[in-house]
Amino acid sequence: MDYPIKIVASTEKVNFNREEYGKSISSEKLLELYRNMVRTMEFDNTIEDLLLKGHDITQHNTRGQEATPIVATSFLTKDDYVMPYHRGWGWAIGKGMEPKRMLAELLNRTNGYNKGRAGAQLGDYELKVMGRPGIQAAHVPIAAGIGFTCKLNKESQVCLCMNGNGSSNAGNFYESLNLASTFKLPIVYIVENNLYEIFEPIEDTTPIKDIALRSVGAGMPGYIVDGNDTIMLHSVLKEAYDFARNGNGPILIESKTYRHKGHGNSDTLSYGGYRTKEEVDEWIKKDPILKLRNDLLILNVANEDELERITEDAKEEMREAAEFALSGDYPTKEQLITMNYVD
């Protein structure tokens, strides 16, 4: 086989000197990663708060999975693309989207990114965040097309394509990998394997434990990494982007992780229902934000007060964002039934 699966650093097998690698990342970069993970968490907390207050808003809580999208987007330039997926909002915050306009969009107001019509399918063309479809896995072939443009442009652009383990079961996922590998497209595919497909445990829907194996059939390298370890993720993704940018074609990274909260608004069974409380509690101990916080203290990147200030700033930013969002108007019927076409 051309590309054996590379287990860089999995939850089972750790062969990685994280302290040494951690020191090689600049303090500014580490703090930026931490800040964006905290901002993502506070963004989710704000959505939950708005839901509890009775507002009509979609929730796809990121909690527990912040590290992967934040680290993945941190390698992107303004010319690179993100094809997002439906788990949480790290990809948007990491690529530079504004929480206030995201919240407004999620509340379906005209001051949102897409005039309130896209909701959870939000995107920002200027920032090259391409707005995912609401159909699971339908975004994966579209990412192949975006990667195709990157290749044709010959400017070492890449496309980051985010996925969950659930969407990797779809034909679209394999068709996209097949196309990308055939045309050698610069795409970094990431599958966040959080062990569930809504309420269903992975073993009920998927015959393999490691989604990275699916890279083998598509003739591209596949990596497995601990998705709750920011420093390991940084090391693996750095290598992945180098591979994709240098004309080697696509690459698939499986990030092993876990969502602390339920799937969405209606999921009340995530703690002690379809998952045992013990299992959830075990994973909460492996919280990626806590882990990075400890790393930052050990590496002397920041002290407790400085880290606390990041959290306070994020809370304040999200308070203001919610205020902005709620001040927006709903679209009129006229606005909602027009603009299905452009000139």
């Binding site: 896209a118 063309y125 339908a138 579209i142 097309g145 996209s176 076409y341």
Partner: protein, 323 residues
């Protein structure tokens, strides 16, 4: 001076002209590098090279999504499906993804993609999954345009317009129409969404498109000999539907017949009939007659498949019902 081309060559010429004008125009599809399954891309690889012409395999939904991604990032892809029926595999990518990006983005995205449903309808020996008329399947979906030309001139002008359009366009090409020869008169793109009054008449309005056009021409010639004066409208585009041209015609004739190959239930004519019945019934002095395909799967074999779609006589009989 106009020249004559077949429908297939007219499509080829339109694609080549647009590819010369804009380097972002790309052609992808099954066998397109070898000239195309229906002879619409002869020599195209030689002229434009491997950077513009891309081969595709059997993954219609995947490659239609890929084409959407190319279109949303500044390219103007044309993708050829070997058979119109194969679009069913890609319905999600076309009508649920490509069609929705303009709306969901605010609109911020342009999706200038052309989905060519080559080899549509009967005319082979294949039946079942290679002979269906796909037009009416696309009628309900906002965000796409559906172009269904009958003549080489319209094929060329509408293909040029489809390539320049910033919305996804489904371009339907019928097997039985590829070989039709005709004058190329227009040098510029033909506006999408405009029907054409092919023949003026006072007795009955017949509305058709694609392969129905040729059945109607034959029928009209015979009806003329019997003193029946038909007004023939070629829709050329079925989405958006040019209702103005149809309404103007029925105010004169008071009679409406629609002709197409799609299965009769929820066919293109059904939508036209509903709109006329809803808003203009006072202009009519008889029922609306829909001449369409039988509600059946298409059988295999050239002889068998012609039995389940309308022919010239069906058109003649439909017109006479109203007189």
């Amino acid at each position: 001076m106009s020249k004559k081309l077949t429908f297939a060559k007219a499509i080829e010429e339109a694609m080549k002209e647009e590819m010369r004008l804009d380097e972002n125009v790309l052609l992808l599809g099954q066998d397109v590098r070898q000239g195309g399954s229906w002879g619409t891309s002869a020599g195209i690889l030689d002229e434009f090279g491997e950077e513009r012409i891309f081969p595709l395999g059997i993954n219609e939904n995947g490659f239609s999504g890929m084409v959407t991604g190319l279109a949303m990032t500044g390219k103007r892809p044309i993708v050829e499906f070997m058979f119109g029926d194969f679009m069913l595999l890609a319905m999600d990518a076309i009508v649920d993804q490509a069609a929705k990006y303009v709306y969901q983005s605010g609109p911020e995205f342009n999706i200038p993609a052309v989905f060519r449903l080559a080899g549509s309808g009967i005319g082979g020996t294949f039946g079942l999954h290679h002979a269906q008329a796909p037009d009416s399947w696309l009628m309900p979906f906002p965000g796409i345009k559906v172009v269904t030309p009958a003549t080489p001139n319209d094929a060329k002008g509408l293909m040029k317009a489809a390539i320049r359009d910033n919305n996804p366009v489904v371009f339907i090409e019928y097997k039985t129409v590829y070989g039709k020869m005709g004058d190329i008169i227009d040098t510029e793109p033909i506006e999408i969404g405009k029907a054409k009054v092919v023949r003026e008449g006072n007795d009955v309005t017949v509305v058709t498109y694609g392969p129905g056009y040729y059945k109607c021409l034959g029928a009209i010639e015979k009806l003329e000999k019997e003193g029946i004066d038909v007004e023939l409208i070629d829709l050329r585009t079925i989405k958006p539907l040019d209702m103005d041209t149809i309404v103007e015609s029925i105010t004169k004739t008071g009679k409406l017949v629609t002709v197409e190959d799609c299965c009769k239930t929820a066919c293109v004519g059904s939508e036209i009939a509903a709109r006329i019945a809803e808003n203009y019934i006072e202009y009519l002095d008889g029922p609306i007659i829909r001449i369409a395909g039988e509600d059946t799967s298409i059988p295999a074999g050239r002889q068998n498949e012609t039995m389940v779609v309308p022919n010239e006589n069906d058109v003649i009989n439909g017109v006479k019902k109203l007189l």
